[in-house]
């Protein structure tokens, strides 16, 4: 009873949100059990950019009512480093064919979805072309929550601009192309339609909501008494606090486009995953909740599979 997603056959409907699970680091922490019980049906890399990025200065995290604000700043080795160093370690992931089954039984491959971000259609196309050349990569996710250098707005915030970026990428690959929509815009379904028109095979949402925190008045960051707490100034809100916003956007997008939808945002339990599936999502991604328990996604997969 495997699940088909854009031609990929998955063990179940639960994957990870980009940037919320580092399989290589997790292997260091959990050893081979990670490979034996890999919780996700597909593994999404964190966002990869053309050039290496060190990320934002700390602090990078702030906890709020039912949520987390992060300003990580997309640290990554850059395309070359990723392809050379990380890809070999991510190419042979697998998971029990029966969600939650004891290791040892049948296993199915965990396809690798590489998430990339560029600041222009050209950069995106270059990233996609490089990924297309690598057999280890099963699908490509475009993180279009990147500010356009001219307008300052997210590239993904404007349907027409988004369509252009996606078609430029579409020309460079026949691998499944997933567009990770930005939630910080007026008309998310229109953006999803733009992605579909540009040739996307699927859309994923929601990414984090723009949010911020001020340094605690009492002490906190020395000097900047009431400046922003986060080194990056503002950050992105994730977790339970955004769940109801995610459900609304996923339902609206699923109603608008024909291509499959990957729904995420505040999923903590099987009931939350079911809400997204019932709202029209084909797959569900777990992000922040994996921080609280890296086994959560596996548990949810088990529960939504029966």
């Amino acid at each position: 009873m495997s699940v088909d997603f854009c031609g990929l056959s998955l063990a179940h409907r639960v994957i990870n949100g980009s940037g919320t699970f580092d399989a290589i680091a997790a292997r260091r922490a959990f050893g081979e059990e990670l490979d034996r019980r890999f919780p996700f049906a597909a593994y999404v890399s964190k966002t990869i950019t053309l050039r290496p990025r060190e990320g934002n200065p700390p602090p990078r995290l702030w906890e709020v009512a039912g949520g987390l604000i992060n300003s990580i700043g997309l640290p990554n080795k850059g395309l070359e480093g990723y392809l050379a160093e990380d890809l070999p370690q991510l190419s042979e992931l697998s998971t029990p064919a029966e969600p939650g089954a004891e290791p040892g039984g049948d296993r199915v491959a965990v396809p690798l979805i590489t998430n990339v971000m560029g600041s222009s259609a050209e950069e995106f196309a270059a990233l996609v072309e490089a990924c297309d050349a690598r057999v280890e990569i099963a699908a490509i996710e475009l993180n279009v929550s990147c500010p356009n250098v001219e307008t300052g707005l997210d590239i993904g915030a404007d349907p027409d601009q988004l369509e252009r970026v996606v078609s430029a990428c579409r020309e460079r690959t026949r691998k499944p192309l997933i567009v990770k929509l930005t939630p910080n815009t007026a008309n998310v379904p229109a953006c999803a339609a733009g992605a579909q028109a540009g040739g996307a095979d699927a859309v994923s949402l929601i990414n984090t909501l723009r949010a911020m925190a001020l340094a605690p008045a009492e002490g906190g960051r020395a000097g900047a008494a009431r400046g922003p707490w986060l080194g990056g100034g503002t950050g992105g809100l994730s977790g339970p606090a955004i769940r109801a916003v995610a459900l609304a956007q996923v339902a609206a997008v699923a109603a608008r486009v024909e291509i499959p939808v990957i729904g995420m945002g505040g999923v903590q339990r099987a009931a939350h995953a079911r809400d997204l599936l019932d709202a029209g999502a084909t797959l569900v991604a777990v992000g922040t909740e994996s921080f609280r328990d890296p086994a959560t996604a596996g548990q949810i997969a088990r529960e939504v599979s029966d």
Binding site: E33, E54, G55, P58, L61, G67, L68, R292
Partner: protein
């Protein structure tokens, strides 16, 4: 001396049972039944959350689990030293015998043994003394050279925490116990007396930075147990970054928490224990 290699942590948090909660001056010692946990290395930590009522505190926090050094291992038990500094630690301090505790770990890279017969100097500030307790246990169990233990605290109530270790020299900011002044006043002479020592330190950022600088100057190896706000503890969120010497960042949870002083330009303000 064995190299204290740690077994990997189980994938997924485990529900442990609280055996007891004792006061230790301004701190609390939390004891939990912990049978199948793999051996941990001194300096490793666990991500903890109460099974009940995690959330619903001020501003609905805590939400994420909190990181705590494994302070001690006994047959079938793990001990943690807690200081109430906010909603998460407050809630953990309310735990009573029989309550449930979620624990993920042991996590991170801990201390490594001193080279050869080098003497170990343990330098701990405030609640940062926690990982030094299990380190002292381990060194003594393995018959290392006599260990020197220097602990600093803000006040007398906190200084009672020194009882967690054996034979410690104490300094307090307010002079209520032991040396009236900074921990580094005690460390200086020790480094002069024995430049072949190895320093193991954990505590507030300013203290760690002072220790790092002194050891760098005296060319004494320094293993510094850092802290940072953490969301996951296993390398997933990239939230626990501290600046690496020569640029870029290290993740305290997987590259540390114990880092070689030489890998740091300085210990940044958010990288220490609650003062």
């Amino acid at each position: 001396m064995s190299d204290w290699s740690a077994a990997p942590a189980p994938l997924g948090r485990r529900l442990l049972t609280v055996l007891g909660m004792e006061e230790l001056g301004a701190y609390r010692v939390l004891r939990v039944a912990d049978v199948e946990t793999p051996d941990s290395q001194p300096g490793q930590f666990a991500m903890l959350a109460t099974a009940e009522r995690w959330g619903g505190g001020e501003d609905e926090r805590p939400y994420l689990p909190r990181a705590f050094s494994i302070a001690r291992r006994r047959v079938g038990e793990s001990h943690f030293l807690l200081e109430d500094v906010g909603p998460g630690t407050r809630r953990l301090c309310e735990l009573r015998e029989g309550d449930g505790l979620w624990a993920l770990g042991p996590l991170g890279k801990g201390f490594t043994p001193p080279q050869g017969r080098r003497r170990a100097i343990l330098v701990g500030g405030g609640v940062g003394i926690a990982p030094l307790a299990i380190l002292q246990d381990t060194l003594e169990a393995e018959g290392a050279a006599p260990v020197t233990t220097l602990l600093g605290f803000r006040d007398g109530a906190r200084a009672e925490g020194a009882a967690l270790l054996r034979g410690a020299s104490v300094a307090t900011d307010d002079g209520s116990v032991g040396h009236h002044g900074l921990l580094t006043d005690l460390l200086g002479p020790e480094l002069e007396r024995d430049p072949r020592a190895t320093v193991y330190a954990c505590g507030p950022a300013p203290m760690l930075e002072a220790v790092r600088a002194m050891c760098a100057k005296a060319e004494v190896p320094a293993q510094l147990a850092l802290e940072a706000g953490m969301a996951c503890g296993f390398g997933a969120c990239y939230g626990c970054a501290v600046p690496r010497r020569g640029g870029g960042y290290l993740r305290v949870c997987v590259d540390g928490p114990v880092l070689d002083g030489q890998d740091l330009e300085h210990v940044s303000e958010h990288a220490g224990a609650p003062a």
